[in-house]
């Protein structure tokens, strides 16, 4: 699975399969992604002035988020937001947005 590769590539494989994941809510990814929708639009379909995330590849989103975290990508706010989520949560979110139309 591509996402797993992306996670492994980022050296985060160890995070997958934590206790939280085992009894996770079946809608966890959907719920987490909805916390981004205030700015990036319902299901990642943004209105003017913010980037859409729907249908972007999970790898691309994860890479962008990693760059925000490291400071490699310039940001006004995403560097602060990204640090509030675990890598596992961000992987779920990225995969969920990737699956949206």
């Amino acid at each position: 699975m591509q996402l797993r590769i992306a996670i492994a590539a980022l050296g985060l494989a160890g995070l997958v399969g934590t206790a939280q994941a085992q009894d996770a809510d079946p809608h966890l990814a959907r719920n987490l992604a909805a916390t981004c929708a205030n700015c990036h639009g319902t299901n990642g379909n943004a209105q003017k002035g913010m980037a859409s995330l729907a249908g972007e590849s999970a790898e691309k989103i994860m890479k962008k988020l990693a760059d925000f975290r490291s400071g490699d990508a310039p940001a006004t706010i995403m560097h602060q937001i990204v640090k509030g989520y675990t890598e596992e949560q961000l992987a779920l979110i990225s995969e969920w947005f990737a699956a949206q139309k």
Binding site: D25, H27, N38, C39, G41, I77, Q80, I81, G84, Y85
Partner: protein
């Protein structure tokens, strides 16, 4: 497949006279069998979000009735730009039609006069009584009667403009009519109040307008708190940029007003203003106390965080500004929207007999304009802590803008368009 009546019996809420009336005739356009009827009280940032997300996430299988007293949504965020003359009322007003047409929400323009948690019924002023399986209260805030002597009933003379709508237009009008050399006094109540940075943004945008049009005037910010409550460093800089036009006076507790002469009586001082904008002390919207919900400090509803049900009152969920907040969680439109999604997910699980999501995350952002172009933000992320049974801010995450900047002026308007659409489109 378990039908709804069996399901209700199975989880034991049929006792107490749970009513199923009001469900027939609410079946959604797709004709699917309803799994439940949710009544949402209040169509602001919290309530509109719950209504839409319940319908979207249930694929139309849950009936949703939204009861809202205003015919159109008027946004508090961005309303300071209307007061400052940078936007019009139309720019911050959104119809409820898309909730009806795109999502099949039944939107009723009315007022809830009573809530009976045992019978699971709400009574409205004009639409009689509605039964529900679960009710979500998103009533916002109401002002505490008698908290400021001489204020009650005088909100035309001494506007608050802390609920967007006619009050916003009224305050704008008073500011326009103020002569050059006049004093615009703004009073801020003790925290917690709705929208922590809002009063400071308003002070800046009034000063921004006066600087261009009536430069001999003055903005006097009378804060009952001992310091600026949000983005302190950034607002301090912004205030300095207005020089003598803006004076900030912390520790100024308002005791009373003389509405006719627009005088504000403070603990140690009396001030005569030309425009007197009092943001009164506030508490959860009146329905919370009327329904007998548990209040902390007699003001804010005490909730269970995973379902956002009022403590000890099953089936009654409360969100938005009305709740006693988790640590560092602001009373903001953005946060109310996040509560709305948490509660929509929790209710859909509960209707299926499942526990709510045990690991919810909420995040907040408040953008504030410090002049016509430059904006500052504060952001935070709150992860649920199972041990403390509430969301806690993630250390090292969130923060504020490095400095006021024009790029975030664009993002602030992008935020507004997106969150309005996330609730109402």
């Amino acid at each position: 497949m378990i039908n709804r009546r069996d399901f209700i019996k199975a989880i034991g809420i049929a006792a107490g006279g749970t009513t199923l009336t009001g469900l027939s005739g609410l079946a959604n356009a797709a004709g699917s069998t309803a799994k439940g009827h949710i009544v949402v009280v209040g169509g602001g940032f919290g309530g509109a979000t719950v209504a839409k997300y319940l319908r979207m996430w249930s694929q139309g299988s849950v009936d949703v009735t939204l009861i809202e007293r205003n015919t159109r949504f008027v946004s508090c965020p961005i309303s300071n730009l209307v007061i400052g003359g940078l936007q019009q009322m139309d720019d911050i007003t959104v119809s409820y039609d898309n909730l009806r047409e795109n999502w099949g929400v039944k939107v009723i323009t009315d007022e809830v006069t009573a809530l009976d948690p045992d019978k699971r019924m709400v009574t409205t002023a004009r639409h009689g009584t509605l039964g529900y399986d679960r009710v979500v209260l998103s009533p916002g805030i109401d002002f505490i009667p008698g908290a400021v002597a001489g204020l009650d009933g005088n909100e035309e003379l001494v506007p608050h403009a802390w609920k967007a709508g006619p009050q916003t237009a009224l305050l704008r009008k008073q500011l326009e009519d103020m002569p050059d050399g006049g004093v615009f006094a703004l009073t801020i109540p003790r925290a917690p109040y709705r929208c922590p940075p809002g009063p400071y943004e308003r002070a800046c945008l009034v000063a921004n307008y006066l600087r261009d049009t009536k430069p001999k005037s003055k903005v006097l910010v009378l804060d009952a708190n001992d310091e600026i409550q949000s983005k302190k460093g950034l607002f301090t800089k912004a205030f300095e940029s207005y020089g003598a036009l803006l004076e900030y006076v912390p520790g100024s507790k308002l005791e009373g007003v003389d509405a006719a002469s627009r005088k504000a009586r403070l603990e140690f001082d009396e001030i005569k203003a030309d425009v007197l904008n009092v943001i009164p002390p506030m508490r959860a919207g009146n329905i919370a106390a009327q329904a007998g919900l548990p209040l902390i400090n007699e003001r804010w509803v005490d909730v269970e965080w995973l379902s956002m049900e009022a403590k000890g009152v099953p089936g009654v969920h409360v969100i938005g500004d009305a709740i006693f907040p988790a640590p560092t969680m602001p009373k903001s439109g953005h946060m109310a929207n996040q509560h709305g999604k948490l509660v929509a997910a929790a209710i859909l699980n509960l209707l299926e007999g499942k526990a709510p999501n045990a690991a919810p995350v909420l995040m907040n952002t408040c953008y504030s304009f410090v002049d016509d172009k430059n904006v500052i933000h504060v952001a935070s992320v709150h992860q649920y802590n199972a041990e403390k049974q509430q969301p806690l801010p993630v250390e090292g995450a969130g923060g504020v803008s490095a400095a006021a900047n024009e790029l975030e002026g664009k993002f602030a308007m992008g935020w507004a368009r997106n969150i309005w659409a996330d609730m109402l489109a």
